[in-house]
């Protein structure tokens, strides 16, 4: 059984200013924990360091995590959200581009 992920954040942000990105995981095993990871894959150097959070999965199989992110710019950046659990479930990753002004 595969899980899905949804990454949400603004379309445009100011460079070097902190903003929040939220990641929702669906289809995880209820009662377990998932490790949610947010990573910057494209954009201006220096790229933001990867962040991880362990989120509990609710009875509906959903977990969520919110990350504080700061990006260099100006550039078009791309963030990648991924997740893993001890059972090795496949969580479909999500990516979003963001304009850093």
């Amino acid at each position: 059984m595969a899980g899905t992920m949804t990454l949400k954040m603004l379309d445009t942000v100011e460079k070097d200013r902190t903003f929040q990105a939220s990641v929702t995981v669906q289809g995880a095993k209820p009662g377990s924990d998932v490790t949610v990871r947010l990573e910057q894959k494209r954009g201006a150097d220096p790229l933001s360091a990867p962040q991880c959070q362990v989120a509990p999965v609710d009875p509906a199989g959903q977990a969520s995590a919110v990350f504080d992110v700061k990006l260099a710019g100006p550039a078009t950046a791309v963030l990648l959200a991924s997740a893993s659990d001890p059972a090795g479930t496949y969580f479909r990753p999500d990516t979003k581009s963001i304009e850093v002004e």
Binding site: A2, D11, K41, R42, P74, A75, T76, V78, L80, S82, G88, Y90, R92, P93, D94, T95, K96, S97, I98, E99, V100
Partner: protein, 607 residues
């Protein structure tokens, strides 16, 4: 009347001369030589009034000629030649306005011949007037058609489609410029790309280009990530498959199994009074089939025979007690029947040894095997059940690995399709940015200004024409000295003397130059004589050297016909015959003559 017989002959000669037309031998060629290499450096040839070209020879006079301008290259160029007379040698102004009434001002399109390094633009220039200064200019412009613009836009967009930065920074303009330069170079055009590239970049940003580009990058990253997942899941599948193949011992040690009632059942369980006859028949059929097609094993024929016996006993027993007796007998006999070391799996058509499924689990599918094993497990003894559980775990891991790999692969396919759509969208934005009207307008201006410019220069036609000509005509004189002035018609011959070389190729109405120059082209002094001496009633006319010397001033009406007016000198003897006195008289006259430039006529006749 006999004295006037010459008149038709003279008229015929005049008409013949008037009809004589200039020759059209092979047109001479004159070549424009650029002072700066072609194409010129940026700005080298901007503006009107800069003269940056010369000709390899002077313009011919009085004859059409071909003006050639070499312009190597492939760029789609249109060339317009302007050539116009100038009062002085140096040209200081640009070409007259298109609607200018200036005489001998020609605007001519130039046609291209040859290709690449041999390309030459040419125009056939009508005859120019002798002894005149002329300026010339060639306006060059790119004749870019809609298809050319589309090709340039597509090519420039292609060069920008693989971006990792999405052109959001100040460093993007050089990238756009380089893309345009590359696209133009592909068409053989060199031009300053900045204004057009600047407009295209602005248009790209206005049309959400960076967002479209960002979507492409996001898809790229996702595909990269999913690709990694595919590789990881593929490795996991390989590992799971290896684990199934490595299972040391299959579940076995029991009677052969058959697939009846929706699952695997040991045939020993069918030795019951309630077993339906068709179930027994199917079990026997599977065992016989297995005996015939599978690896040799004594258990299958023996269990098949036992089932057949049991089935016959049941059929013969009508009372329940008899059936029970038959069951007891069958079970007792079964205790001595051989067990199978490994069970079989049902592949929807026949029983297959589980060892075969172990080596190729995908032939039946791990899920089906798991379902059959799970159905069988409660009927097993603890030892074989433990082994079956191990098989179930390994096969479930293999099934999950296969299903997950398929899910991930499907995701990769979907994202790859999405990436293609996003790339197409991004390229469309780029192409639309390059196709903007403002971009194309800037492109045209830059190409004209920097790639080609205007070639301009000046030259002079030679004074290769005659100052003098033969004049032959008829005049009406009014000699005095008699009792009355009697009109006198007579042919005459003479020479015309002009103050300038006379152009006989340019239509009279097209003659150019200064006011004096135009007058001098028409007016000449004539010296000649009548062919016969005048006669005056009652007086004796004495010849003065020749029959009737005359001097006149004439104006050409056409190249070869002129009006003349002047005086004829003659002498009259005194009225007294005894007197030797002679008196000079001048008779005024007017005439019509043929202005015969024999040299021009003879050298310009059609051969």
């Amino acid at each position: 009347v006999t004295r006037l017989r010459w008149i038709p002959l003279l008229a015929g000669a005049l008409l013949a001369l008037s009809a004589a037309s200039p020759a059209l031998a092979d047109d001479p060629h004159v070549q424009i030589v650029s002072k700066s290499p072609l194409p010129p450096q940026v700005g080298a040839a901007r503006g009107v009034g800069q003269f940056n070209a010369v000709t390899d020879s002077e313009f011919p006079a009085g004859t059409p000629f071909v003006l050639d301008m070499p312009l190597p290259g492939k760029s789609p160029v249109a060339a317009m030649l302007h050539i116009w007379p100038n009062a002085e040698r140096e040209c200081k102004n640009g070409a007259p306005a298109a609607a200018s009434p200036m005489r001998q001002y020609y605007r001519l399109g130039m046609s291209a011949s040859g290709v690449d390094k041999d390309r030459v633009f040419s125009a056939r220039v009508p005859a120019l007037q002798v002894d005149q200064y002329f300026c010339f200019a060639v306006d060059l412009s790119m004749s870019l058609a809609d298809d050319d613009f589309k090709e340039i836009a597509r090519s420039a967009a292609d060069r920008l489609k693989n971006s990792s930065q999405c052109y959001t920074t100040d460093k993007s303009l050089p990238l756009f410029e380089a893309a345009l330069q590359g696209a133009l170079r592909q068409k053989g055009i060199t031009a300053q790309p900045e204004p057009a590239a600047d407009h295209a970049l602005a248009q790209y940003r206005l049309a959400q280009g960076p967002k479209k580009c960002g979507d492409v990058l996001a898809s790229d990253v996702k595909i990269e990530e999913i690709g990694n997942e595919v590789r990881a899941r593929d490795a996991k599948l390989t590992k799971s498959l290896a684990a199934v193949k490595a299972l040391p011992q299959p579940p076995g040690g029991l009677a052969p199994v058959v697939f009846v009632q929706g699952g695997l059942v040991p045939v020993s369980k069918l030795l019951a009074a309630g077993t339906a006859d068709d179930t027994l028949a199917e079990a026997i059929r599977q065992l016989r089939l297995r005996e015939a097609g599978g690896p040799p094993d004594e258990a299958f024929p023996q269990w098949a025979a036992a089932l057949e016996t049991f089935r016959g006993e049941l059929a013969r027993s009508s009372a329940m007690i008899d059936k029970w007796n038959a069951v007891d007998a069958a079970k007792k006999a079964a205790t001595s029947l051989p067990k199978v070391p490994a069970i079989d799996i049902w592949d929807d058509q026949a029983l297959v040894p589980i060892r075969d499924c172990q080596q190729r689990p995908e032939a039946i599918g791990p899920s089906k095997i798991v379902v059959q094993l799970e159905r069988l497990t409660p009927d097993l003894d603890p030892g074989p059940r433990k082994i079956a559980d191990e098989w179930i775990r390994a096969l479930k891991a293999l099934r999950d690995a296969r299903e997950t790999l398929k899910t991930v692969t499907d995701d990769l396919d979907k994202e790859t399709t999405l990436l293609a759509e996003r790339k197409a969208g991004f390229q469309k934005v780029l192409q639309e940015a390059w196709s903007a009207e403002r971009v194309q307008a800037a492109l045209v201006v830059e190409i004209q200004a920097t790639d080609l410019g205007r070639k301009a220069g000046f030259g002079k036609t030679p004074a290769a024409a005659n100052y003098a000509s033969v004049d032959a005509g008829v005049l009406v004189g009014f000699p005095s000295g008699g009792q009355h002035v009697e009109p006198w018609v007579t042919p005459y011959l003479g020479f015309n003397f002009y103050l300038v070389p006379v152009d006989r190729s340019i239509p009279m109405g097209e003659l150019t130059g200064s006011g004096w120059g135009k007058v001098a082209q028409r007016v000449a002094i004539t010296l000649g004589t009548t062919l016969i001496a005048p006669s005056i009633t009652g007086r004796t006319v004495k010849p003065a050297f020749v029959p009737g010397p005359l001097a006149a001033l004439g104006v050409r009406l056409t190249h070869y016909v002129r009006l003349t007016g002047g005086g004829i000198l003659y002498k009259l003897a005194d009225k007294n015959p005894a007197s030797a006195k002679e008196t000079f008289y001048v008779a005024p006259f007017g005439g019509l003559s043929a202005d015969i430039d024999l040299v021009h006529i003879l050298t310009n006749q059609r051969l």
